[in-house]
Symmetry: D4
Subunit: 208 residues, 8 copies
């Protein structure tokens, strides 16, 4: 028999956004800041669009790491928000794990800063507890390509699936007939090339 | 015992060309457009050369995604052509799967746009149903290298074999004695360096 | 005597935005689309912030080149807008040159798509008529790095000054004491790293 | 007064294609072979489109350098064709210079292999004789980026203008109203992204 | 059941620094020398900070390979120091293996020069003897990226975990509450961006 | 129990050099020609130094693929030399497989041009027959990085070990005490940085 | 007559360090942070070694730009230190220009963050007043390579000389016989490869 | 009148090889060591082939900089050899300048390590004395690309011509009829692609 395809399911997935803090973001150099900001906001917008339970966590936000980026706070005013008192691996924080388990979901979509620590550690912990983990690689950042490559290899070897926000959105949505306008708007707002296609299309089909 | 070598067999392979549409192609930035166009046409030409059953599919071609690139339509006028009404994963479309299964082949050669969605999703679905899947990486394109790397890792971890159109052609042909001129022409039309070798050779061996 | 420093002067500068059209943008591959979009909007925002007269022009916007990106249209509803009937070099269009000269400014800030045509041609024409030309390189795009390098060299050899939107904004502003909040907002909205600095700063200085 | 803009003029330009030979092309590694082949053919097609006198020359084509690429021979069956008996700088060959001067043109459009020799030497010679020289950088190739950068700098310092085939075509054409279909076809055949725009456009505007 | 997370434990880990010699370092070209030096010293500082037993070894240090870099010698004056008389794989040296086993630790943290030999060979040997091996990729260097990629793939396929000094430090520390100042100093001394965050923070919070 | 370390053994290894032909080499663009030539000759020299049985094979050497590079022919005048009449996968050629099996070795060291065909196909075939296969990645070349990455992933997933000539030489030698001068000469002739170390060393230690 | 060589002269040079502030440094992405920090400190150390008058200036250091990096403050406790109240171009600040002119030097060595603003503006101003300006490119940083290239071109076209800290040190020193140990120490502390050479040398020449 | 073409003339050129020493070579990281070694030896072989007077010089070769690479010493046993006692700029050494002037040549071909110091300084000095200077960029090396770019810009702005060993050889030879075998051998020994062309050619034209 073939290998089962563990596929994102919008009724069974929770999103974890780990340590996207204003100070820590200055450490991210494996992806350009314009693009990275866009990816993080796109993932957040996708989480909202699919109504996925979302959990925010930060590390030492009173210190140099800085506060969570305000945009995320505003988008998820009612989400569980765990300001960890010291645990580097968010999964070592009881409240965080409780919040995850309270959702009842078995699929974890995770992104964070920096990849090899804030993303990799909870990923490996969650895999150990039999969650399916989908790492949103392009909404996670770290010091350089070498570090990223090593972190991806470690997570992938342990069973995590490497994805991007666009791939995750496509897998969650399944069928455009579920809703064209909403998903189209999500893509248009976060993919300039896609927006251009739409704007050309609108002109061409309406100009007569 | 050693590991079995699952090898492309021209009597057992079907080619799936997924969403090579004029609009979607503007999203492809992990490979240069001249080279990408050449690779897609080379794969199509190889499919024809080996008489492989070929299936075309598109997503929303009436909208901004745009029509299938005309060259492909012209090369495969009689191929099954599934314009999907909404399914993002082509394998979620019954007609598409029926068309694949109707060929009776157990080896799938797949390429498409964008890699992490239009290629990866049906690849993972087909692996689940015990097909052997050969991803033609250089006739598949996506947003950037990060996305490509993540998609490749996901498909490879699930058991897909990563190939290129040239490697696939070589593996399908097996022996030059089956036909020298035809394969030579295929290579000459799609590999400038190879064409140069042939043109130098012709001059050198005929000039006396 | 030293060489005179020809310096941007907000009372003597006009901004030319040339052919930022939804179709043509799909040709731009020397800069990532997220970053390019951000740079173009940043330049436009700077033009507004400094109240610089701004002129929009397009080439064949009814055809495949597509319409001007809607954001620019919305930002400059009252700007001269020259939809050129055919001239490739905007400077060959009388209305365009008239619009430029009507501003009475002698410094031209120019950006467009694609660099070696839509930017380079009017740049060379304007230099011939003794304007000072400042090319906003990061809000101009083209096919690839080779093309960009050649275009830059041609324009620079002819006397154009190569700048970026950030450098131009700094040179136009001269002194933060003219207005801190406005320029700070411009930077914060278009430079994620800068926004992070500000958000960290706000937290750190107000939290007590 | 401003600096005169020396601008390509289709009534005053001659195209020189230097040593695009099947053997020498294997030395070109500063540009991908798919893209390079496309650029050379695009320049040749532009020369034909604008009816520019075109001169072909080769170096030692009986030996390992190999014959001129057959496509160029076929496109210009009646062009002056100077198979140089030994001169490395084509301008050292009397017949070649005579052919150039016989055209009566003062603008030289030149491309060849390899850039720092076959292009740079005649470029510097022609500049000395007061020709305007436009180097088509993307239809010229050489060993690597370092070599290219040095060759460009040498030619540019001597007064050559660095261009690309697309920029040259735009500058020669001046106005789309001179002919839309012909230039559109040239672009569509050699710029996949542009072809996609056109194909999307056709569908969108005709489908109702 | 999920896959167990084999996690660095400061009470069960030993650090092996293999062949960081002044001559061999001139072979390292897959990472810039400034950054590489910093990473090696950071790993060494982390080893000291966590009081991990550390073992130094060199290959032929009397010859062209040169002596161990003096900084490492000074940091670990009392560490076992095995100047191997000839074994290329340090694990083939009995004294070295004895020193490792004498620590009683089952987790090996390893880095060295060059990656595919001095790191990979003992890594594969230690895995065979059932140690958990954590390769500190950014404190290991070799000739070029191709070589690095091949070496990483070989080690990862054999079960080694690829990490970086920063990730290892985070995993060893577990919780900032164990000690903030010490770990903060380690990061500040080896990550310029982090030091900047701290210096900005100090000013902002104390200036009033 | 840990995973067995399958380690190169000079008494149990055979070297296969596949299709390093003068024409095919013009296709190799994933590695610079100077470096590639050096790596191939270094692998050949290592094969000779360790007295490993070596087998040469070519594909269609009378045609455009060209003859085997003369240096290899000269280094191995008595090696089995199989000029394949048509088989693309050398393992499909009976004489070739017979020659391999006649050596009685169970470890295959393989390199060739192009990687995804001439190296990958026999690698996968040999793995199926339970050989251990060590791919010398840096003496194998192909069209571009994308192709290389896909080929490496396919071979590695099937169980091949990815190495380089330097790593293989180190693993075969085991201990410098077996012979210092010979291995030193091998490295000095093929690693300029190593040669420099030795030349500096000689001067410094002898100058008194 | 040839062109005069305007050469750095330690008796006629002043060093300007502009806006190396902890916040602004997070904007620098055209050079790695480890390397950039090293270059800035190396330039500062060279300034001290050659006893060059050095002037520090910052922009808004109370705000998000952050304080001058502490290392620089400590190295130059008695240097003129101009915290500019708002001028973006340091040369627009009277105190700064006075401090420069008070040194009586006619050669300016300048570095800063970001290149196209904080370095380029005073460079262009100083050239206008007939100073010779030497830009230390590797101790200056900015957003990305595109920005850097444009800024370099602008400054170079205006007559600035582009250098690096190492080149400047060599040109200032003129002759090793002026002092071997001091310059050697400067290089050893800031160039790991050089330090390795020295350490190998010491061992090799002293070990007997 | 056009700009005079200052062209290398084998009767009027002298070659200066500056500081290609075994230690200093470890600093070169803007070009791969295999390729760099090949380029330096190719330039030396060209100098011999054209019988150009050649001058060798070194800096502190008794110390860590190491001796001149032995290959150069062997190729030019009778060349003037100036071991400079301390001057960093070789042109500051009287013996060196005397040796240059003794040749009576007015064209200087120069290469060395590192580019921005050992090449740039004597280049600028020689230009001041009205020599024509041709920098062989690919036989000169330095720390990284940033440094190289700055050094090239400085030398080019001062009037030096940037070339490569291959371009220089072509310009010196002028006409293949002066000697085919010798120049062919030079190219074949230092350009693998060229050697392959020749070997294919020989087989193809002789095999009948």
């Amino acid at each position: 028999m073939g290998k089962p395809y563990v596929r994102l399911d919008k009724d069974n997935a929770v999103v974890l956004l780990v340590d996207h803090q204003t100070g820590l973001l200055s450490l991210v150099r494996d992806i350009d800041p314009d693009k990275f900001k866009n990816n993080v906001l796109a993932l957040a917008a996708a989480a909202k669009y699919f109504n996925l339970p979302t959990i925010l966590t930060t590390s030492f936000e009173e210190g140099p790491n800085g506060p969570l980026v305000p945009e995320l706070k505003e988008m998820f005013p009612d989400a569980p928000y765990i300001a960890r008192p010291g645990q580097i691996n968010a999964w070592d924080n009881e409240d965080f794990v409780k919040a995850v388990k309270a959702t009842g979901k078995k699929q974890i979509i995770i992104a964070g800063v920096v990849t090899e620590v804030c993303v990799a550690f909870p990923t490996l912990s969650a895999l150990e507890e039999d969650f399916d983990v989908f790492v949103i690689t392009d909404a996670s950042g770290t010091f350089n390509h070498l570090t990223r490559d090593a972190a991806w290899q470690r997570m992938s070897s342990a069973g995590a699936q490497l994805m991007t926000w666009f791939g995750a959105a496509g897998e969650l949505h399944r069928d455009w007939r579920n809703d064209i306008d909403g998903l189209g708007a999500l893509f248009s707002q976060h993919i300039p090339d896609y927006r251009n296609l739409i704007n050309s299309y609108i002109q061409n089909t309406t100009k007569k």
